[in-house]
């Protein structure tokens, strides 16, 4: 009677081929899949939005985002995902659903989304030109500054988009959570959109 190994496989396991793609020369876009994260949806119960915010403050030291923004703390990001709800993105199990359930027991309903999404980080000199083909929202630096977040759609698929801290070279970074079963399809669409600018493809285990 064998013990089984439970190997995880990203939905992009096969579609993602690390390396260059598209037009040659300096890549205008870099696409990095960030794998194996914990993601928990926190939704306030009726009349408990303030309690949920308080619980978040107690747990994370910051208030839960009350408008479309992503709040970065040392070991997690709290990303607004709708009215009176947010996502907790983290690594390593510290803020996984089992760990959070106590903190929010009296104020919110929790749902594990760790496996429901794929996380892709997008940057590069042409990142906005490429995203303009996918996203109908205005990503101009003045309209979508660092920390801005959006629950929106790309290619008719729901996504969560937020702007992380700029790269050390000053390039903007956009983080994208996409539904797992759509991920491969959207990935190919992203490659199509970025190909003319040249793409660098990578995978990572680190949250940006």
């Amino acid at each position: 009677m064998a013990e089984f190994s439970w190997e995880v496989r990203s939905p992009l396991e096969r579609a993602l081929v690390a390396g260059p793609y598209g037009a040659r020369g300096d890549a205008g876009v870099s696409l990095t899949e960030i794998r194996n994260f914990d993601l928990v949806q926190v939704m306030a119960r009726r009349g408990k939005a303030a309690d949920m915010a308080g619980a978040a403050k107690a747990r994370f030291g910051v208030a839960a985002p009350a408008r479309p923004e992503a709040v970065q703390i040392s070991d997690a990001a709290l990303i607004w995902s709708g009215p009176d709800q947010f996502l907790v993105l983290s690594k390593g199990g510290k803020h996984a659903i089992e760990q959070l359930s106590q903190a929010f027991a009296s104020s919110a309903s929790l749902s594990d989304q760790s496996h429901a999404r794929v996380l892709i980080s997008i940057s590069g000199a042409k990142v906005r030109a490429m995203l303009a083909k996918l996203s109908s929202i205005d990503l101009h630096p003045a309209s979508f500054p660092i920390g801005a977040a959006a629950a929106t759609s790309m290619d008719h698929t729901s996504v969560t988009l937020w702007r992380g801290n700029d790269r050390t070279d000053g390039q903007a970074v956009f983080n994208l959570l996409v539904f797992a079963t759509f991920a491969e399809s959207l990935w190919h669409t992203m490659l199509d959109s970025a190909a003319e600018y040249g793409v660098t493809i990578a995978r990572s285990e680190e949250l940006a």
Partner: protein, 994 residues
Amino acid sequence: MVGGPQTHRLSNGGLIDRSAPLSFRFDGKTFVGYQGDTLASALIANGVKLVGRSFKYHRPRGILTAGSEEPNALVELRTGARREPNTKATMAELYEGLEAASQNRWPSLRYDFMAVNQLFAPIFVAGFYYKTFMWPAKFWEAIYEPAIRRAAGLGRAAGIADPDHYDKAWAHCDVLIAGSGPAGLAAALAAGRSGARVILCEEDFALGGRLLSDGGTIDGLPAAEWISRTLAELAALPDVRIMTRTTLFGVYDGGTYGAIERVNDHLPSPPEHQVRQRLWRIVAKRCVVAAGSIERPIVFAGNDTPGVMMASAMRTYVTRYAATPAKRVALFTNNEDGWRTAETALGAGLQIAAVIDARAEVSPAHRSLASKGGFTVLNGSVSGVEGGKDGVKKISVSMTGGARAEVEADGLAVSGGWNPAVGLTSYHRGRPKWQDHIAAFVPDGAPPGMVAAGAANGAFGLGACLREGFAAGAAAASDAGRNGKAGTAPSADDEAYSLTPLWHVAGKGKAFVDYQHDVTASDVELAQREGFESVEHLKRYTTLGMATDQGKTSNIAGLAIMAAVSGKSIPETGTTIYRPPYVPVAIGAFAGHHRDETFHATRLTPSHHWAAEQGAIFVDTGLWKRAQWYPRAGEKDWLESVTREVKAVRGGVGFCDVSTLGKIDVHGPDAGTFLDRVYINSFSNLAVGKARYGLMLREDGLVYDDGTTSRLADDHYFLTTTTAKAGLVMQHLEFCRQVLFPELDVQLTSVSDQWAQFSVAGPKTRDLLKEIVDPAEDLSNEGFPFMGAREVALRGGLKARLFRISFSGEMAFEISVPARYGEALVRNLMQAGAPFGVTPYGTEALGVMRVEKGHVAGPELNGTTTAADLGLGKMMSTKKDFIGRVMAGREALVAPDRQVVVGIKPTDKARRLRSGAHIIPKGQTPGPDNDQGYVTSVCFSPTLDQWIGLGLVERGRERIGEIVHAHDPLRGEDYEVELCNPVFYDPDGGRQRG
């Protein structure tokens, strides 16, 4: 390089690059032009006058304009799969190797057989086809129509798949500007300096609009210098984006604009990884339409002769392209502006035959120009043109006062005045208003946030264009909240513009109003005579303005003639409704990358790649790809594979990926009450650790969806939906939560993608699961009874959920694990199940087993069935309110003669049953009155060794055992079937509970 000399190219000047000659072919003949040419300017430079044939009469036609309003010079551009019919030669940029062909002619442009139509011209008047071709009735489709269809049409589409790519993008700005003429550039300056985010779209490949052709002095600088200075300043501003080769074609709600960028149409083919064209959706707070104006022709006999050209177009060809449409030019004008063509022609060293001016007075300045240029000025109008496919030869003039004169020339420039380009401003059904002093319509009732400026607004002077454009740009920026200093407006003098309206000159021979559709002045008069006086009737009856130029050069003349014959003023006559797009746009651009395999997104299940490795055949289910069956070597067809899979499950164990079901976490203290209201049956009384089948109605009382819901905790239910309705049910439940029942404390989250879920079914299921599940978990009938649902540990520590539910009728569990473990689970099932002969099965086998069990699915849940129709009427609670309860009780929905679900099997066991066959009582002739239902689902049942099915049949459940006919005339079949219990397999359910 091949090709003769450019006989009609001036030796210097023009915005062409003489160091970059380009060879191109037109109708198989090779020519040379220059970088910076359009196909039209290059043809003119090569002395080509005849470029096309007209739609109806196949009359020879030349180049009339130099822009996107061109009605005549349409060609098939490129060849093979890239052939583009009806391409305006005036808009096609020349590139090395360009190939173009004239169209709508046979066998050749010069000798067009269809020109015979001109002989029948007396009969082929407007609407003639409505009055004939009616007898004999059968001849229309057989004879007349095919002939008409072949003769009509313009160019030929490629007929094979477009090899190029397109994409679509979004842009956002404060101020969007259409046009880069003086008004557009001034608007961009003002808005950009104010700090606004600006996008300026220019359809041409060069910036400057009419300045490129007409020059002028701005801020003391020659126009060309002012343009470069302005572009440099705009480039230095942080948020000004200038898009050339981009036409703003439409305005939609909420400040959304459509634009088409011809990214690579100026090249033989798009470079690798690049698109041919890009569709832009531009969101702008304000829009300044500085799209200029369009010079209008005058309708006179022979006005379509090659060599007759708009006066401004002639200036464009001479000044911008250094190409001379004629050597000896006559000019026919009713306004001041037309005279500029005489000045240009003289400046270029062309001969001027005469200027025919319809106005009573000609200014002294022009008189002196005439004497300096050595040409005569004739007070009168052109009443006829002699010539043909080789161009204009002689021009007849009716002099004011009645005398006649003749002028010999090889080109005739015509100016009937200018019409502001009112398209964009009128697309929200705004009607432009008439201005007498320019005898033209100007924008009125523009969509919110849009304003016209400069010539597009009827301000024709250069100074006025700059002032209006600048003011509009500054105001737009300010409206958008950008209030930086706009500085001072560029300035220039205003030229005089005076005209005497002249639309139509009486004369012998056809006088064309709409060149492309061959609509003549007498067609307009005929339409009026027959009662088609409304401009919309005029348009529809004569087809005036419906050609590819959308009547840019013809609409106003047409309605002016209608006004004259019906005794009304032009504004009383009114305009037709303006419709987007402003220029025709490739259908491929609207589709972007949504074609071929990427037409729609594809959803993949967690076991997809594993299934693909097994050689599974996939079926499209909504956006999903699902494994349909897993063929094995030696199996001759799908039926053999599916039969094997079914037998493996019924006799051993198999598994199937059911992750496509919609899955929803329903949380909160009121979750049970909430579910009670959305399902016909109760869930608040479901015990924790149990699952229950639920049926959901629409508010109209008909069945919406079904699925199993499990209670995982007091305040946590896990709900499943059908694959097809997953998204819709989520939306519906959110509506219930947020709108209908906001008092209930319940939270909803889609977890469809979180869980990989597999049905494991068959008598050996428990044996297999024992190998996977932690031995501490009790899977016995007592420890995990039918309809149990709870979390379990798997070997190796992974947590999973088990649901003891069965769709197949066998002993079965559904097992779910977090999705990234889905593939590992499949591999482990395969490994652990090998000793039991575990078999993966696809949706076909799933379907077979559900039909054998009489479970309803999509074909029965078709939106017109009630719970009772499906045999589930008893589930409807009478103790609570739920969605659909009241309407479900309407008389026709509870009538005894409704079609209800019943089992169906052919009396001849060898017979194949087919879905879609209708049920007719035995011994009756099929007809509407005895059509009693139809077969909804079928399968070959390996268990019963025959085809069986489900159907919706009138009073079906009362008729079990009755022999009826399955009538299938589409497939030429009619056979006896027996109505039977829909549960063909294990009707008392012992297997699934065992």
